[in-house]
């Protein structure tokens, strides 16, 4: 177990290094000069020259990379060219928001997908199954921005039940926080639920046809126990894999949903940073979310062992 963990962490280091090189260079392949964007409408040549020299924009790329790495290894992600705020501070400011939105969306997605998937599998080709499939298909095909704006118009503008958008910290007012997070989390969650539900359904169908389930039934176990204790647990492996990938993706920000509901998470941050050619911000956030992604995947692998004890990590166990 520990050797396994250690090995995984060791593999993560070259991965992160590659990510850092990629985000650094791809960004600089983009046309557009941060100094021009940052010099504002006036584009005073002196200001442009100052920004170029201050952020080493005139230096060769490897030299620029070296300056960035030097600070990074000291735990400093640099400062935003646009607002001068330290990138680490901004990430820490947005991190709780992003995590909360990701987790809430995942909870909603699983709360919809698991029961719906299981019931569709048990009652294959029933009305419920068809209905759930139609809903799943709509969940997959309705774009988030459309669903988001429609929800705002209906729930906030027409009915006045929930605030239209914005974010309140849970430390400030937990109730208000949840009221504001509900719609965006639902929009994200419903989209994810569709894929999860389909995955649960097909995995359940496969498991329900396997020999040990027949044996379990033959032993005279109650159907509930067969389904939930024996079948679901095994069927969860592909579902957890998918949910893990989805959660990892959510942690890198939900660009469109954040825009629509003005949730100050990573998605909005990184899009604005790219458009403003705010190199240190883009690099910092991408590197951070890549780390988060690797971490979530590691946790998913650990979860396999917990769900299915037959899977032993690192050989020995």
């Amino acid at each position: 177990m520990w050797t396994y963990l250690f090995r995984r962490i060791m593999i993560a280091i070259p991965t992160l290094f590659l990510v850092s090189v990629m985000v650094f260079s791809i960004q600089r392949l983009l046309p557009g000069d941060p100094a021009l964007v940052l010099a504002g409408e006036e584009r005073d040549p002196e200001v442009i020259a100052y920004i170029r020299s201050k952020y080493h924009l005139n230096d060769p790329l490897p030299v620029q990379y070296y300056y960035w790495m030097l600070r990074l290894l000291q735990g400093d992600l640099g400062e935003s060219i646009r607002t001068k705020a330290p990138v680490t501070d901004v990430i820490l400011q947005k991190l709780p928001v992003t995590i909360e939105l990701a987790v809430l969306s995942m909870v909603i997605a699983l709360a919809i997908a698991l029961p719906a998937g299981v019931i569709s599998a048990i009652r294959k080709e029933s009305v419920f199954d068809y209905l759930a499939n139609v809903l799943a298909l709509s969940g997959l095909s309705i774009p988030n921005f459309w669903l988001g704006i429609m929800l705002i118009l209906l729930v906030s503008v027409r009915l006045g039940w929930l605030p239209a958008s914005g974010y309140v910290s849970p430390l400030e007012d937990l109730g208000e926080n949840l009221r504001r997070m509900l719609m965006p989390a639902f929009v994200l969650g419903s989209g994810l639920a569709a894929a999860l539900m389909r995955q649960t359904r097909s995995a359940m169908l496969e498991v329900l046809h396997s020999d040990y389930i027949r044996t379990a039934r033959a032993k005279g176990l109650r159907e509930r126990i067969v389904v939930y204790r024996h079948a679901l647990r095994n069927a969860l492996i592909p579902v957890v894999t998918l949910a893990g990938l989805q959660l990892g993706a959510l942690l890198s920000g939900a660009v469109i949903t954040e825009q629509v509901f003005t949730i100050p998470g990573f998605g909005k941050l990184i899009v604005d940073a790219v458009f403003n050619r705010d190199y240190p911000m883009v690099q910092g956030v991408v590197l951070f979310t890549a780390t988060a992604y690797i971490l979530v995947n590691l946790l998913v692998d650990l979860a396999y062992a917990w769900i299915n004890p037959r899977i032993r990590l690192g050989g020995k166990g």
């Binding site: 983009l30 940052l38 006036e42 607002t83 901004v90 914005g166 825009q259």
Partner: protein, 499 residues
């Protein structure tokens, strides 16, 4: 301890009661750094309007009026400006505003590394303190647009003590002397200001707190206003105005802006392009004649903006009435092309990749087609477009300018030889001469005459074809009253109240 507890309780009560006196404003973008000398976005100026007082301000009809200065006088040679200053003004950190502070601020604008104000106050040679409430600004050469500059960010006064202590980080917790002081900022989420109790004119400001919330999507911004989560929003999309006007709970205000939108044509940046459009003024004239500015306004902007043919809108006193907007004339355009020796002319029009700019490009494309132009549209992301323009890698570019209070700010940098934003390569020493003369006098009639002489030369060259002037639209709850629209698009909260 007991006293402390009471204070906390009182503060709590204050917070509770203050809820009703908070004004929530929806912004179209997240402002950049909140340092008047480094700031460069329009949206940042909206926040500054409540945070930082300036030496001068403007009236809705663009007259320059005192704010922190109480009066001014020019020397006869136009090279010295003497300002008398308001007494009893405090910065948010409790320090006193005086002549030394003005000197510090103007010198900061001139010398702070990366200062975006430097080019605006460049003509200043030195600043002298006459007495605690009088300063004298000495110029290298007469520069009449200076007052207008001091009515914008260059005239914003920050606390010298805070600026010295915070250095480059000043913009993260700005200290000025405006009616509201800085409380907190969460990037891309909110900027919170709170009433400054020692403000010299505090009774004119009704709200205890002002919260700015950047919400880039116009329909989401509007939905927030309709749902009651915002009280006031800026830059309502022209296409949403119909819905807003129908909503009895909302009110709309508008003002013609200071800026313009048009087509910038590359003639010789960095060297002569040699294309028909770049080298032959008749081709450019034909192109202009193929365009119907009224129709563009109707089709793309629901008729909400103001068509125009000059750097300032027709409503401005600086609009040259002797050079009115030409009507569309396809026959004449075709004849001009023929005269220039072309049957059809093709070129690429660069537009920024937002839906409205692309639609505008398509309308231009189809209008010009009838006159014999084959326009290829190239929709480019903004930062990339700037890069291409700066490098001279474009035929024509649909871009505009947000506008300045003084006409010099809309004209000089685009038309003077080698000026900072002259990306067309146009150069006419006569135009430079007139524009410089206009800078050197404060007399309206005389300045107008020079701007007319200059326009008579640069407008017919058509390296910039002006198309229209955007209007500012604000929408707010009908409980709000006293809102005054200003052509600079800023939100001034003096006299604004809520039922």
């Amino acid at each position: 301890m007991g006293g402390r507890r009471w204070l906390v309780f009182l503060a709590f009560l204050l917070v509770v009661f203050a809820q009703g006196r908070t004004l929530r404003i929806g912004l179209a973008e997240d402002p950049d750094i909140l340092d008047p000398d480094l700031g460069r976005t329009f949206v940042g100026r909206i926040v500054f309007a409540s945070l930082c007082d300036k030496l001068f301000d403007i009236t809705p009809d663009l007259k320059i009026v005192p704010q922190l200065a109480t009066g001014y006088s020019w020397s006869d040679d136009g090279k010295t400006l003497t300002l008398s200053l308001r007494r009893g003004v405090k910065f948010h950190d409790g320090t006193t505003f005086d002549a030394e502070a003005v000197k510090f601020n103007l010198e900061r604008s001139l010398t702070l590394p990366g200062s975006n104000r430097k080019s605006e106050v460049k003509p200043i040679e030195s600043v002298g303190v006459v007495d605690p409430y009088t300063v004298r600004i000495h110029l290298k050469a007469p520069f009449s647009p200076l007052l207008a500059q001091l009515a914008d960010r260059a005239g914003m006064m920050v606390s010298p003590k805070a600026a010295r202590e915070l250095g480059e980080n000043f913009g993260r917790s700005p200290v000025c002397s405006g009616p509201y002081k800085f409380v907190e900022r969460v990037a891309q989420d909110r900027i919170v200001l709170e009433k400054f109790q020692e403000y010299w004119n505090k009774d004119a400001f009704a709200f205890d707190r002002v919260v700015f919330l950047p919400i880039p999507d116009p329909s989401v911004r509007l939905a927030n206003l309709q749902a009651g989560d915002l009280d006031l929003i800026e830059r309502v999309a022209p296409t949403d105005l119909g819905a807003v006007r129908k909503d009895a709970r909302l009110k709309v205000a508008s003002a013609v802006g200071l800026g313009y939108q048009g087509i910038t044509i590359n003639e010789s940046n960095p060297k002569p392009l040699g294309t028909p459009l770049a080298k032959d003024v008749r081709v450019r004239e034909a192109f202009e004649l193929s365009l119907d500015r009224e129709a563009i306004n109707q089709v793309v902007f629901n008729g909400e903006f103001v068509p125009g043919n000059q750097a300032v809108p027709p409503t401005s006193p600086w609009y040259i009435k002797e050079l009115p907007m030409p009507k569309r004339d396809v026959a004449k355009a075709r004849a001009l092309l023929k005269e220039a020796g072309y049957d059809r002319v093709s070129f690429t029009l660069m537009v920024t990749n937002n839906p409205q700019a692309i639609q505008l490009g398509q309308v231009i494309q189809s209008m010009a087609k009838e006159a014999g132009f084959d326009i290829k549209l190239n929709a480019v992301e903004f930062a990339t477009a700037l890069d291409l323009q700066e490098a001279g890698k474009y035929d024509a570019f649909q871009i505009g300018w947000s506008g300045r209070i003084d006409p010099d700010g809309n004209i000089y940098i685009f038309h003077a030889c080698g000026a900072a934003l002259n990306e067309t390569g146009y150069c006419d020493p006569k135009v430079d001469e007139y524009l410089n003369k206009a800078r050197s006098t404060g007399d309206f009639a005389e300045r107008y005459r020079y701007y007319k002489l200059a326009a008579e030369r640069y407008l017919p060259d058509r390296h910039i074809i002006y198309l229209y002037h955007p209007k500012w639209f604000w929408a707010f709850t009908n409980k709000l009253s006293g809102f005054t629209p200003y052509p600079d698009g800023l939100i001034r909260l003096r006299g604004v109240t809520m039922k």
